[in-house]
């Protein structure tokens, strides 16, 4: 069988090697790229990232990647967003006032201080994810085995669970609850870092990209 090609979207902000290392370990080919054609012709796409929401959006637009990202998601290509790459899919973020996102998903990204009394911000470390749906419509991938497992988080902003129709998992931070992952068609996006979450994280990526592309 031909090895799958995963495009890791590069918008020139940060170190993408840990994502690439994880994908390589799982036996997939990958390119770190901002080339539209490479992304459109890939078997699957990862939108990674840590750092500033507004800077990332600026770069994505500079490279003309916003339309490419919407296009691959709409056509049903396997698409995985990680951390900032999860947040960018929403309508906006309150970072630096207000920044517009890609609006692939409905919702706002807000600073953790707006979620109630969270003492330690950023939220850094291993936390559990709780499955919120049993009827995740994609039958090719069984996510229930990740329910209640620990994944690695590093972030200061998050998405509310209330009114979040695309909620896949939620996570408790002290007494507050955040949306830790979402799904849409053949997209999954996570606030946590599967590439840094040990065996469970690798298995999540492996199961996801092993689906028929």
């Amino acid at each position: 069988m031909k090895q799958k090609n995963i495009a890791i979207i590069n918008y020139n902000l940060n170190n993408l090697f840990s994502v690439k290392n994880a994908i390589t370990q799982l036996g997939f080919n990958s390119n770190i790229t901002y080339d539209h054609k490479e992304i459109l012709q890939s078997d699957g796409v990862i939108l990674p990232g840590v750092g500033s929401f507004s800077q990332a959006m600026k770069q994505i637009k500079n490279f003309g990647l916003d339309n490419v990202i919407r296009e691959v998601i709409n056509e049903g290509k396997l698409f995985f967003g990680i951390c900032l790459g999860f947040q960018l899919l929403f309508d906006s973020s309150d970072e630096n006032g207000c920044s517009k996102g890609l609006s692939v998903l409905k919702g706002e990204v807000k600073h953790l201080s707006t979620f109630g009394k969270i003492r330690k911000i950023p939220h850094v470390g291993w936390n559990k994810i709780n499955m919120n749906i049993n009827d995740y419509t994609n039958n090719e991938i069984n996510l229930s085995k990740f329910n209640n497992k620990y994944f690695y988080f590093v972030h200061s902003h998050a998405v509310q669970v209330i009114n979040q129709k695309r909620l896949l998992t939620s996570t408790k931070i002290e007494d507050s609850i955040i949306c830790s992952s979402v799904y849409k068609k053949r997209l999954i996006a996570t606030q946590f870092h599967p590439e840094k979450s040990g065996i469970d994280g690798l298995n999540l990526l492996k199961d996801f990209f092993s689906q028929e592309s």
Binding site: N15, F17, S18, N21, A22, T24, Q25, V50, G51, R119, K120, I121, P122, H123, V124, G125, W126, N127, K128, Y150, Y152, V154, S156, T171, K172, I173, E174, E195, K196, S197, G198, I199, G201, L202
Partner: protein, 282 residues
């Protein structure tokens, strides 16, 4: 707390070898870091800390190739310290696959490095390492260069200052206890944990499961960095760990004689014990 309590093996590196000392001194070779890192990863380590123990002393940094290799095989956060002095140093270490850097000496020499680094890389990437030594007058003073040089700064003040500068995590080493297995300094840890709002990792002296449990019960301690207590257990298991390939002091590997109070154990056993006592672990 909803975050899991972190068990973090700390790998002290000299040249290409894993070493271990007592009170950060008298380094003895234990093996190759790669063997230890892989074993700990598979056993459920939540993170690894790599410390180039001579970098600060000799003003160099030779850890990159080890990190580069580790990052291809190990998929948990990696923190790297030792001899980091500039923004370029940090960038270089992160590009090798590290997730965080830990800084001590350079933070004292030029505190603005911390604020600048936090601004560029995000504060969650910047860990400040504090080496604490209790003075005869009862005060705890921050040291540099493996406890050799006093900065004159009190630990509590310095911890607060670095967080204000942008440190996203503090790792506190109790130098007098380090490598001894005689337990940590609960008094100081209590004091520091009260004032910190960033993750707080305790290191030095934790030589048994019960000492680790005691530390984990202190509110606001996010995790422990462990060396001897894990390494000495593993050394006895590793075959092919013959002294001949190593550069430094291999006396320990030849004699296998422990000179400390450490009661070696495994990550699995530690986590089991903590979970039994309602300390959340992964």
């Amino acid at each position: 707390m909803t975050l899991a309590f972190r068990i973090i093996p700390k790998l002290d590196i000299k040249g290409s070898d894993l070493v271990k000392g007592i009170n950060l001194e008298g380094l003895r070779v234990l093996g190759k870091p790669d063997d230890f890192a892989k074993y700990y990863y598979n056993e459920g380590a939540d993170e690894l800390i790599y410390q180039d123990v001579v970098a600060s002393l000799y003003g160099r940094n030779g850890l990159k190739s080890i990190i580069n290799k580790t990052a291809k095989e190990i998929f948990i956060p990696l923190t790297v310290g030792g001899g980091i002095r500039t923004i370029e140093d940090i960038k270089g270490i992160l590009q090798c696959g590290a997730d965080k850097v830990s800084i001590n000496t350079a933070a004292h020499e030029k505190p603005h490095l911390i604020s600048k680094a936090a601004e560029i890389f995000g504060s969650s990437t910047i860990v400040v390492s504090i080496e604490a030594i209790k003075q005869s007058n009862g005060k705890y003073i921050a040291f540099t260069d493996n406890g050799r040089n006093s900065t004159g700064r009190e630990v509590i003040d310095w911890a607060q200052e670095t967080v204000q500068l942008g440190a996203g995590e503090i790792i506190l080493t109790i130098v007098d206890k380090e490598g001894t297995g005689k337990g940590t300094d609960i008094e100081l840890i209590n004091e520091v944990s009260k004032i910190l709002k960033v993750p707080f990792i305790v290191h030095g002296g934790l030589g048994s499961i019960n000492q680790i449990l005691e530390t984990s019960k202190i509110n606001s301690v996010s995790g422990v960095a462990l060396s001897s207590v894990l390494h000495y257990e593993l050394v006895s298991k590793l075959r092919n760990n013959q002294p001949k390939d190593f550069e430094g002091n291999t006396q320990f590997l030849k004699s296998r004689k422990l000179f400390t109070s450490v009661q070696p154990t495994t990550i699995k056993k530690i986590k089991q014990k903590l979970n039994q006592n309602n300390i959340l672990c992964r």
